[in-house]
């Protein structure tokens, strides 16, 4: 090799560094559509899986999901992060799916669901229907765990569901806000980070 070829290579590399390569717009547009399509397929799979589990026929369902990589002991002020928002037809039952992605197997996890006035569990059983709170102890396997439940709004306005999972010093809280309107219901899911 000569100094000349070395110099030419240096010049070419310098030109290559300066070159501004961007993702073509048609690729971005195609990708955007493909991502949305992939997202919809994922949701459909989940919906198909849940329906027989809940034995709720003809329910216009929305699947809200939340995941967290690890149960962690958060510190600092209370923070709410919106993680999902959807609109469903008004007056119909809403299926909410809590998804926990646990870093390890966890036993004796205390779960609770607290419903505001105006929201009820969707069930044929009057006893369940009248409850505003449901608590149980269970376990989470390492990986993804799903807890689906179905609710119905009994009035218009904003109402909230608080879902908690507590295991020892670790806790995880989610708030699901349902805004029931005449024509539709807006469902917003927040993850709540607290210092206790």
């Amino acid at each position: 090799m000569t100094e000349r070829s070395e110099k030419i290579l240096s010049e070419l590399i310098a030109a290559g560094k300066k070159e501004k390569i961007t993702v073509p717009l048609h690729v971005k547009a195609a990708l955007h559509n493909k991502l949305n399509s992939a997202s919809a397929k994922k949701s459909n799979k989940i919906r198909y899986f849940i329906r027989p589990v809940l034995a709720v026929a003809a329910v216009f369902a929305i699947i809200c999901s939340i995941s967290f990589a690890v149960f962690k002991n958060n510190s600092g002020n209370i923070e709410r992060h919106l993680i999902h928002e959807s609109t469903v037809a008004g007056g119909r039952p809403v299926t909410i799916k809590l998804v926990y992605n646990a870093a390890d197997d966890l036993r004796n996890v205390k779960f609770s669901l607290d419903l505001d006035e105006g929201i009820s569990f969707h069930s044929d059983n009057p006893e369940i229907k009248s409850r505003k709170n449901h608590e149980w102890t269970g376990e989470l396997k390492k990986g993804v765990n799903s807890i689906p439940f179905v609710v119905k709004t009994d009035r218009f306005g904003k109402m909230k569901i608080v879902a908690k999972a507590v295991s020892g010093k670790f806790r995880h809280t989610q708030e699901i806000v349902l805004e029931a309107r005449e024509s539709d219901t807006v469902v917003s899911m927040f993850v709540v980070l607290t210092d206790n």
Binding site: L12, V23, A30, K34, L35, S65, V144
Partner: protein, 187 residues
């Protein structure tokens, strides 16, 4: 982007939030696409296919992201694997392994077909890089063009840092040899 913001976006994307995923992608897309273009020898059509394939794969698998590396490093790896998948498909060599591909080297003794070379020096470089085996072209792309440091590049390629340096040295030597053999195009 801060690490905490990246983490939050990844967690949201893992829940299926496309907007969070696209925000993550925006911060690295040009560099990652540039990498795809470079390792595919400047073939835009191939780079576009590889890039799209890899991004969709990343979105579908982001729930498995373990936070052991940055999102960009993870995506770079997926791009690289998508490139190998693409080559396997193109060559219809079902049993071809990555090691086989790395061992594949065109002859450097003969003059290469430089007929498509242009006056644009960046394009000329891509053309030259296209004659390198992928194990060399990816090292040149990451270190010399994208100015990635040796540690990060070695981690991404899952090779020892010394091996990275050897490949880089050989890649540059090959490019100089190519220039030498085709000097009439560089006057």
């Amino acid at each position: 982007m801060t690490a905490s913001k990246e983490r939050k976006l990844i967690e949201n994307a893992a829940l299926g939030d496309v907007r969070s995923f696209e925000e993550l992608l925006e911060s690295v897309e040009d560099k990652v696409f540039s990498f795809a273009l470079s390792i595919s020898g400047g073939n835009r059509s191939a780079a576009e296919d590889i890039y799209q394939e890899a991004v969709i794969k990343a979105y579908l698998n982001i729930g498995k992201f373990s936070f052991k590396s940055s999102f960009s490093t993870w995506l770079w790896k997926i791009i690289r694997n998508a490139y190998f998948d693409y080559i396997k498909f193109e060559r219809k060599c079902g049993d071809l392994s990555i090691e086989d591909l790395e061992g594949f080297e065109p002859s450097f003794d003969e003059k290469q077909d430089m007929s498509l070379i242009s006056d644009d020096r960046a394009v000329m470089l891509r053309k030259l890089i296209s004659f390198l085996p992928v194990s060399y072209s990816e090292v040149i792309t990451l270190v010399d063009l994208q100015e990635m440091d040796h540690d990060e590049a070695a981690q991404l390629l899952e090779i020892d840092k010394n091996l990275l340096k050897v490949r880089l040295h050989r890649a540059r030597a090959r490019l100089e040899q190519l220039i030498e053999n085709n000097m009439e195009y560089f006057k």
